[in-house]
């Protein structure tokens, strides 16, 4: 039993050495309406989710959304000073131009942005025709236990 464990551990170490930079980390964001009051519910609604995989400095994002009042327009990744604060866009994503559909894209992050991602400071924001300042957003947070 012990010998088998040692062999397995050796194989895992060997695999990690043999493929440097191949480790990836999974993140997920639940997409929900941006800050709104009841009056804004006429134009801001919907939900969705995205998953993101960081491999090296490459962040690959894919997900879905549904329930928008008007068609989606653009989707972007933003960096915020802290989790749940507004921030500036750092890259574009592709989204279906409809009230439901998909979001996808890939970004090459700087080392600082990789740190931001690990600290929960990156978020995805989806805009729509009648919510041009933002319709859905969600912070990319690490999925525990998944590396």
């Amino acid at each position: 039993m012990t010998r088998r464990f040692i062999l397995l551990a050796a194989l895992l170490v060997a695999a990690s050495v043999a493929t440097p930079g191949a480790q990836s980390r999974q993140y997920r964001a639940r997409l929900s309406p941006v800050p709104l009051d009841v009056a804004m519910q006429a134009t801001v609604a919907g939900s969705g989710s995205v998953t993101a995989t960081l491999k090296g400095n490459t962040l690959t994002i894919s997900g879905t959304f549904t329930g928008l009042r008007t068609a989606a327009t653009v989707a972007r990744v933003h960096r915020s000073p802290k989790t749940a604060m507004r921030g500036t866009p750092i890259g574009d994503l592709t989204s279906t131009q409809d009230t439901a559909g998909t979001i996808s894209g890939s970004l090459e992050l700087t080392n600082q942005q990789v740190d931001d991602l690990a600290a929960g400071r990156l978020y995805v924001k989806l805009h729509s025709q009648k919510a041009p300042d933002g319709n859905l957003w969600g912070w990319l947070l690490v999925q525990e236990g998944k590396k």
């Binding site: 639940r30 941006v34 800050p35 709104l36 009051d37 009841v38 989790t83 749940a84 978020y123």
Partner: protein, 716 residues
């Protein structure tokens, strides 16, 4: 002197701005008719005045609809914006008026802000900038304030005419046993004699007939329809098999707790909604009297045997906006009462906690919660003159340590909510807001205070329950506020002992590990008028009035929590007598990491201060938690579920889906030797209802149905 000069300059600047505004001659032609405004006043009285007040000055979370504070928000927006906003959002939870009514109410609001009437009727398509037709200064005399009894219920459902005031059902509680000090200090296991059951505020019952093993068999024993108006959030009392129940509209009933038979009923009045939320969370009992705090800021003693009024004392002047949403605690013959509606600038008044002789209603002492110049703490309000210092409401009943003879109350935040509005800096602590105060029961003098959030700036109340727990020689006080930080203090001295985060927060950069003092984010410190700050938690709070329970057998605190965030923006207020208010706009969003779960129930082991278990759900929790020696914790939610959980694991053991949101304070008691569990359903409330309505709109409990439910185990 320098401080006064600075404030004078500020006030003069504000005054100059206001006078310029007032002198502006509206350029646009009139957009509404006198007939519309007249009809609008009636519609406003019927649908809006209970929250925004008959004088349109607003109250708490209901903003002012007339005057400079209204114009600050609406000057640059159009009449069409205002009509659409009201049509989409008002009355809260169920916008249900016809287009003509919304137009008429808009006309009334325009009239109240100095806009002239004309021949042209206001139409839904009319899009005139409000700043071009209104000044915020009324040209004619303001509408007469409604008498305290003249406001109209906020409930959206058809409401039956209120019953006549006074005793409407006359019977007698047989074999009534007076409640003594000894009973309050050590209550019979089957009784529930005060808010949260004991002086220590544990919301815990030693009853153990209902257990983890048999709670699955719980069934309805009886139910009771309650008054439909205002916000229903009550905690019944039970003594010797008789339940005393407070309804909205200031009604108290005595009910046989086993059979549900009504014994007496007194509509003390006013029998109309007064105050923003018009709830009354608790009543008190002592000797042969029931003590009711009314929503118009009176304290009334009723004969517990027959419901007759024994005495009626005015606590504060309702015409100045004072009201009450929580009742008293009785300590050695003194009825201790808090106060709400302290958000207005008043030259000669300020918020206080007061004590009254339980036999006569005579005022015994007052403790003012807002320090003025020349008093201890009076130098913590920056340059604000005394008459511009507002807030410090005490809207949750306190607790008491009989051995130390100290009463513990939480003091709410300063008003307006944000320093950018209230003319202070975040560094101005504003005592005694955001604090725990320990008062000597004998004379109300301050034994100690601990300020949890100096200069609180984001409507993060620290006003909620103070739970008193001994651990060997350690005498601790636990409390948790909207920031979701569980605070632990030494209750003889107020010394800080520790803290624990219970939900995500991003408003504080750090918390001093020695003193517990939090440091705000820099952008919050640098806040300016009309700039949005994005923060977690929201004004719903990590924690709110839904009290935690201390389960003594497992040494756990079990805490109802909420997970939501907000953007908040300070609005300008006029620094004149009667102005003030909360003065902030808010927008809400889901808390990152919550997966959309607003409701959270968290158990903490007090030996380690670590989480034992937690559960999360989409629906917000709207009741206090109740734990029992049977190993069960009860709690209810917005989605109409009332559930029993295993106190060791959080596992759901039983649930019932009731008629509307489960809201209030569940209690358990015995009658005829049998254990029962009671809980209320209800509508109405502040942020705990406003925020879920915004971010979980798919959860739609009925907007009527105030009811008391009583559950029991089947007969063997």
């Amino acid at each position: 002197m320098k401080a006064l000069t600075t404030f004078t300059a500020l006030a003069l600047t504000a005054g100059l701005t206001l006078s310029l505004v007032a002198k502006q001659t509206p350029a646009a032609p009139p957009v509404y008719t006198t007939a519309q405004a007249t009809a609008g006043q009636a519609a406003y009285s019927a649908n809006c005045a209970s929250c925004h007040q008959a004088t349109l000055v607003g109250q708490n979370e209901a903003p002012a609809l007339a005057g400079p504070n209204f114009m600050t928000t609406w000057r640059g927006r159009t009449t069409k914006d205002l009509v659409e906003y009201m049509s989409a959002t008002m009355p809260p939870g169920k916008p249900s008026l016809g287009e003509a009514e919304y137009l008429n109410i808009t006309a009334f609001i325009l009239q109240a802000n100095g806009a002239a009437a004309g021949a042209q009727a206001l139409l839904a398509a009319t899009a005139t900038a409000i700043g071009t037709i209104a000044t915020g200064q009324r040209a004619a005399a303001p509408p007469a304030p409604a008498a305290p009894g003249g406001a109209i219920p906020v409930s959206r459902a058809p409401v039956a005419p209120p019953p006549p005031r006074g005793l409407s059902v006359r019977s007698e509680v047989k074999n009534y046993v007076p409640v003594t000090d000894a009973m309050l200090r050590n209550p019979d296991p089957g009784d529930w004699l005060m808010a949260r059951r004991t002086y220590q505020a544990w919301s815990y019952s030693p009853l153990a007939e209902i257990t983890r093993g048999n709670v699955k068999d719980l069934k309805l024993a009886w139910s009771w329809a309650m008054t439909e108006a205002g916000a229903n959030q009550p905690m019944p009392l039970v003594h010797n098999g008789i339940m005393y129940l407070t309804n909205t509209l200031n009604m108290v009933q005595a009910i046989d707790a086993a059979s549900g038979e009504l014994l007496w009923e007194n509509q003390v009045g006013p029998n109309a909604v007064v105050g923003s939320f018009a709830s009354m969370r608790n009543i008190a009992i002592y000797q042969d009297k029931i003590f009711l705090s009314t929503t118009d800021a009176h304290l009334v003693a009723l004969d517990a045997r027959n419901g007759k009024v024994v005495w009626n004392t005015t606590v504060a002047d309702v015409t100045k906006g004072y009201y009450q949403t929580s009742g008293p605690i009785v300590v050695r013959g003194k009825v201790i009462q808090g106060l709400q509606g302290c958000d207005r600038f008043r030259a000669n008044e300020r918020c206080f906690i007061s004590a009254y002789d339980s036999s006569t209603g005579k005022l015994l002492w007052k403790f003012h919660t807002v320090a003025r110049n020349g008093e201890p703490g009076g130098d913590t309000w920056g340059t604000l003159p005394d008459n511009m210092r507002a807030g410090g409401d005490t809207w949750i009943v306190g607790s008491y340590d009989p051995d130390l003879d100290l009463i513990y109350y939480g003091i709410a935040q300063a008003k307006p909510w944000m320093p950018a509005s209230r003319g202070t800096k975040v560094s101005d602590a504003a005592l005694y807001t955001g604090s725990t105060v320990a008062l000597r029961a004998e004379d109300g003098s301050l034994a100690w205070h601990y300020q949890h959030i100096p200069g609180e700036t984001l409507d993060q109340d620290e006003v909620f329950e103070r739970v008193l727990i001994d651990n060997g020689p350690e005498k601790a006080l636990f409390t948790i506020g909207k920031a979701g930080i569980l605070w632990k203090l030494e209750r003889r001295t107020g010394k800080f002992l520790g803290y624990k985060h219970t939900v995500f927060q991003n408003m504080f950069e750090k918390i001093d590990p020695e003193k517990g003092t939090p440091t705000y984010r820099q952008d919050i410190i640098d806040q300016k008028l009309d700039e949005w700050l994005t923060v977690c938690p929201s004004t719903e709070g990590g924690h709110n009035w839904q009290a935690m329970t201390y389960h003594q057998p497992t040494n756990q605190l079990i805490i109802p929590l909420s997970q939501s965030c907000m953007e908040i923006s300070a609005r300008k207020v006029e620094f004149v007598e009667g102005s003030g208010g909360t003065a902030a706009a808010r927008r809400f969003f889901e808390m990152p990491g919550s997966d959309g779960n607003v409701g959270k129930l968290l158990a903490i082991d007090l030996a380690t201060m670590k989480e034992t278990w937690s559960i999360q759900q989409r629906a917000a929790y709207l009741t206090a938690a109740l734990s029992t020696a049977g190993g069960v914790v009860f709690i209810g939610d917005l989605d109409r579920y009332f559930r029993a959980h295993d106190v060791r694991t959080g596992e759901v053991l039983w649930q019932a889906r009731l008629n509307t949101a489960v809201q209030g304070f569940p209690v358990t008691f015995t009658a005829n030797g049998k254990q029962y569990v009671a809980v209320t359903t209800g509508t109405g409330g502040g942020s705990p209802r406003v925020v879920p309505r915004t971010i979980t709109p798919e959860i739609n409990p009925p907007s009527s149905g105030h009811t008391l439910y009583v559950f029991e185990l089947p007969k063997k």
